[in-house]
């Protein structure tokens, strides 16, 4: 039995949690805008949001490497602010993961807000509720399934990313060495036993998460308007 190597596991969970938190903050207003805008720019934005679904992770990772590197716009600003580089660091991984998992958070939320529709929000407005209250008291609870889907999909997708991490983060223990990288390394060095432990762990974990989401989704009251 190979010695269990927990460092990459905790790092991966931390990365996924931070990524999901950041995604909720960024994706919610964008999904709201996409669901309710009448602007023609909407379709363009939708296409851009969906890009990470079809682009090879290496393409995404390549551009991110340039953007986040010390010579890139974002990387230089980060370097000035924190005296640290964005590439090959945990912060850089978060940025990359947010972009990589973006559609997995935006799309379920957008669909949920569209499902809520204008009806309940108009009703809330006639009762004196301002915009924030319409969102917080009415739309958010009604879009709960969308939030659950967004959180789980973005979390699970972040767990499984490989290509982008390899390009942007490299393989630094405790900083950027996540599970998928660790598995790759074990396989490269023919440590199949350790690869097995991590791979099976990820497999079981993913299944359990998805199973509980689908169960929960069945139990959540289906809200009809």
């Amino acid at each position: 039995m190979a010695e269990l190597e927990l460092g990459p596991v905790w790092l991966t969970l931390e990365l996924a949690a931070v990524t999901v938190a950041a995604l909720l903050i960024i994706a919610t207003p964008l999904a709201w805008w996409l669901a309710f805008t009448r602007s023609r720019v909407r379709t363009v934005v939708e296409a851009v949001v969906a890009m990470p679904l079809v682009l090879p992770p290496t393409v995404l990772g390549f551009y991110l490497l340039i953007l986040l590197g010390p010579a890139g716009a974002m990387g230089r600003a980060w370097l000035t602010l924190t005296d640290d580089t964005l590439t090959f660091s945990f912060a850089g991984l978060v940025v990359a993961s947010v972009i990589y998992s973006f559609p997995f958070a935006v799309q379920p939320l957008q669909a949920a807000f569209e499902g809520v529709g204008r009806g309940p929000l108009e009703a809330a407005a006639t009762l004196g509720a301002g915009r924030f209250e319409q969102f917080w008291r009415i739309a958010s609870p009604l879009a709960m399934r969308g939030y659950v889907s967004a959180i789980v999909l973005a979390f699970a997708h972040t767990l499984g990313e490989f290509g982008v991490v390899l390009m942007v983060g490299g393989n630094i223990p405790g900083s950027t060495k996540v599970i998928s990288i660790a598995i790759y390394e074990h396989v490269e060095t023919i440590e199949y036993a350790q690869a097995h432990v991590l791979a099976a762990g990820l497999l079981v974990f993913s299944f359990v998460v998805l199973l509980s989401v689908y169960t929960l989704n069945r139990r959540l009251p289906l809200v009809r308007i």
Binding site: T126, L127, R224
Partner: protein, 357 residues
């Protein structure tokens, strides 16, 4: 009395709304017209729910909309009852009501009391229920109470009864009827149902293809022959003001001045004022008091005018105890009976035509 001043236009792909009208609001004002005439759209414009509306809206000297200003819906101080209720499905009945109560406008008007609204719409037994499990009639009662609890200065109602069956309508109509008096709020009521106009409204704004066809007292507007094409085929007829003299076993005797009509209707306390609508086509004329006849309702009348009607018909405008009555008969019959202005005749009203709808 509040005044709503409308000068608004709204271009839709399918039709254009253009309304210029001052509405002195007291009691219930009906927005009446056939489907697609723009009634609901106008109501939404008044509520601030149509962003593309242009023009000015003033309510009691306060600007709700102008070229520079568009006061958002939540700051207009209105109540709105949607056709489909639009209760919040994730909240219970009580939570729906409290949502409105928590945002009630603090104004000089007396506050609308939670218990009073619950009692007025008979919601006591429903408070803990989740809203998707309510019947259509229950949902609309909750929706009306919820709108009241927002403390509106103007209540907008968009065909609140249209999705309900006849019995539910009969339950809710009296509740709507007493809203202006019980809660001191004027009501703008959208409907395409002429019976609801007759039953509820004091004034009526007739909309036709997005424009104002007529505005005035309900009796005056519904009596006008020239408006028939605008109302989408609603029969001309009159509103007769009556009072319940006796009520017995499903039949009421209604007093029209010194004369009487017998009408089958739901229970009514003696002394209740009741308007009934009589179509011109349901009134026949005799020159002497008829005998051996199945028709029970015969009113003594005087001919005020003889007007050309459609096709081979003429329409008579009659005076009954100071009230108007209309009768449609053929030109042939009119000539044969040698009817003339000022003549006294007997108006025969079919009882089935008077039955409550």
């Amino acid at each position: 009395m509040s005044t709503l001043s409308l000068h608004v236009t709204l271009a839709h792909p399918s039709f254009a709304l253009e309304v210029h009208q001052d509405l002195p609001l007291a009691g219930i004002t009906a927005l009446f017209g056939p489907s697609g005439s723009g009634k609901t759209t106008l109501l939404r414009v008044i509520a601030g729910l149509e962003r593309n509306a242009r023009g000015t809206i003033m309510f009691d000297g306060e600007t709700w909309q102008s070229e520079r200003v568009q006061v958002p819906t939540q700051r207009r101080g209105i109540g709105y009852v949607f056709q489909d209720g639009r209760l919040f499905p994730h909240l219970t009945v009580e939570q729906n009501l409290r949502f409105a109560l928590g945002r009630q406008r603090r104004t000089s008007r007396p506050a609308v009391d939670f218990a009073a609204a619950v009692a007025a719409l008979d919601l006591g037994a429903l408070l803990a229920r989740r809203t998707p499990s309510l019947s259509g009639g229950e949902q609309q009662r909750v929706a009306i109470a919820r709108a009241l609890l927002a403390g509106p200065r103007l209540m907008l109602m968009d065909e609140p009864l249209s999705s309900l069956d006849l019995n539910r309508k009969k339950e809710i109509l009296p509740l709507i009827e007493k809203l202006p008096e019980a809660f001191g709020v004027p009501v703008l009521y959208v409907t395409h149902n002429v019976d609801e106009v007759v039953r509820l409204a004091n004034d009526v704004l007739l909309l036709s293809a997005g424009r104002v066809g007529a505005y005035g007292k309900v009796g005056d507007v519904l009596e006008r022959l020239d408006l028939s094409p605008l109302t989408g085929g609603v029969e001309t007829g009159v509103l007769l003001r009556t009072e319940v003299a006796t009520y017995d076993g499903g039949v009421a005797t209604l007093r029209v001045g010194a004369q009487q009509l017998r009408v089958a209707m739901g229970a009514m306390p003696v002394g209740t004022a009741r308007r009934i609508r009589i179509h011109a086509r349901d009134v026949a004329i005799a020159t002497s008091r008829p005998q051996h006849l199945s028709i029970r309702n015969v009113l003594v009348a005087r001919i005020l005018r003889i007007e050309p009607g459609t096709g081979m018909n003429v329409e008579l405008l009659l005076d009954v105890e100071g009230e108007h009555l209309r009768s449609r008969i053929t030109r042939e019959a009119c000539d044969e009976l040698a009817l003339a202005t000022g003549q006294q005749v007997f108006a025969l009203v079919k009882s089935v035509a008077l039955e409550e709808k």
